[in-house]
């Protein structure tokens, strides 16, 4: 270990040398590399965790730059996948951290491989389908995970500890219905930092052996309205919860709960996920170039093209984003017309 690098953090008595050693030996999974994920990843990288795995399915766009702190205009111009751009930036910040970047959906198969190897999962996703999946996989492998979410000037966070706190499935009746989570009301950047401050402080407590210092509370705030709320969550635990009780069956790990198409909230975009197939982007590009009407962009991770009022982005893993529609049938039609 470089002696100076973590000096101020080691001086902080609850962490100390012993805590720093634990941190360096830990592996954290961050699911999502948008606003919350960028900020969490940078904080943990600077703090000196040993290993970070970052999963994200998206690429950098102009409207991300206002709040997604790892990304630059160059990343935007090159349409870099967020996981890859994040890894590049984080490696510049701290070359001692081992960073794995995964461009793709946080789906069951991949989580099954990674989660058993990790000490903690940080939720930085933008949807409850993935959160419920994280919840069940965390329960199954007895890993803590930290829920965090933001919209407008409002944020909410809660640390889920296996066998110690209620889980997200216990709180299922409070999860907003599909569509109600769309970010059509925008977001200001400070609320991201505030949720991440909470999440990462909890993470540091967990990773350095300071469990007794955890908040244990459901915390929410609205920075614009000057509101702050903390709630003891224990009363919300469901004794017959299908994800965390003794009668557990992990309903969110059932394969049929996975969506093949997903309308990406507030983004006027549909994601299509065909049967797992690696895609030779160069082959596809060659075909598309025959059509003179198509404006094509390619980088090593994805290709993007515009037709009519749509923009289509194809990733190596076969996932396709159709921008310009919220209608999954229309998106499928476009997909079949241009990508077979």
């Amino acid at each position: 270990m470089e002696t100076n690098r973590y000096h101020r953090q080691i001086l902080f008595a609850p962490i100390g040398e012993a805590g720093q050693e634990k941190l360096i030996r830990s592996h954290v999974l961050i699911v999502g590399a948008g606003a919350l994920g960028s900020s969490s990843a940078e904080a943990l990288t600077r703090a000196g965790v040993g290993q970070l795995t970052i999963i994200d399915r998206d690429y950098v766009e102009e409207s991300n730059l206002q709040r997604q702190q790892l990304f630059s205009e160059a990343d935007m111009k090159q349409k870099m996948p967020k996981a890859v751009a994040a890894k590049q930036r984080l490696s510049e910040v701290n070359s001692h951290v081992k960073i794995d970047a995964i461009v793709g959906d946080a789906e069951i198969d991949i989580l099954r491989e990674i989660v058993p190897e990790t000490d903690l999962i940080i939720d930085a996703t933008d949807n409850f389908e993935t959160r419920l999946l994280l919840n069940d996989i965390a329960q199954k492998y007895q890993k803590p995970w930290i829920y965090g979410a933001v919209v407008a000037s409002y944020g909410v966070t809660f640390t889920v500890l296996p066998d110690k706190t209620p889980c997200l499935q216990c709180l299922q009746e409070y999860i907003p219905a599909n569509g109600a989570t769309c970010d059509s009301v925008g977001i200001i950047q400070p609320v991201v930092q505030k949720v991440v401050s909470q999440q990462i402080t909890e993470a540091l407590k967990l990773l350095t052996g300071n469990e007794a210092a955890l908040s244990g509370k459901l915390i929410s705030f609205d920075l614009w309205k000057n509101e702050h709320t903390e709630m003891e969550a224990e009363a919300l635990r469901k004794p017959d919860c299908p994800s965390c009780s003794s009668k557990r069956s992990y309903p969110n790990l059932a394969y049929d709960s996975r969506l093949k198409t997903a309308v990406l909230c507030g983004r006027n975009t549909v994601q299509l996920r065909p049967q797992r197939k690696q895609t030779d982007l160069d082959e596809v590009a060659k075909e598309l170039k025959k059509n003179k009407q198509i404006k094509l962009f390619e980088n090593p991770y994805l290709l993007s093209f515009e037709v009519d009022s749509f923009r289509i982005v194809l990733f190596q893993d076969g996932r396709t984003l159709v921008h310009g529609t919220m209608d999954s049938i229309e998106a499928k039609n476009i997909y079949h017309r241009y990508l077979g």
Partner: protein, 67 residues
């Protein structure tokens, strides 16, 4: 009557008699809410029975999805 909601003082009319009335007053009726009334978490069916009194403390949390 004066109560505290999410840490801030709130003056409410006498027509607002219970938690359900407060939710309507705050126009939050279409969201699933976790509500704590004087440090007691309420089930949804208790919202109409939980009578508000001067000085009561109410905490309201809702989940959001953005990241």
């Amino acid at each position: 009557m004066k109560i505290t909601v999410n840490g801030n003082g709130l003056e409410i009319q006498d027509e607002v008699k219970h938690i359900k009335g407060l939710i309507d007053f705050l126009e939050l009726e279409d969201k699933p809410l976790i509500i704590e009334h004087n440090q007691q978490i309420l089930q949804k069916e208790e919202h109409e029975k939980a009578v508000l009194e001067n000085g009561d403390k109410v905490e309201i949390v809702h989940f959001v999805g953005g990241g």
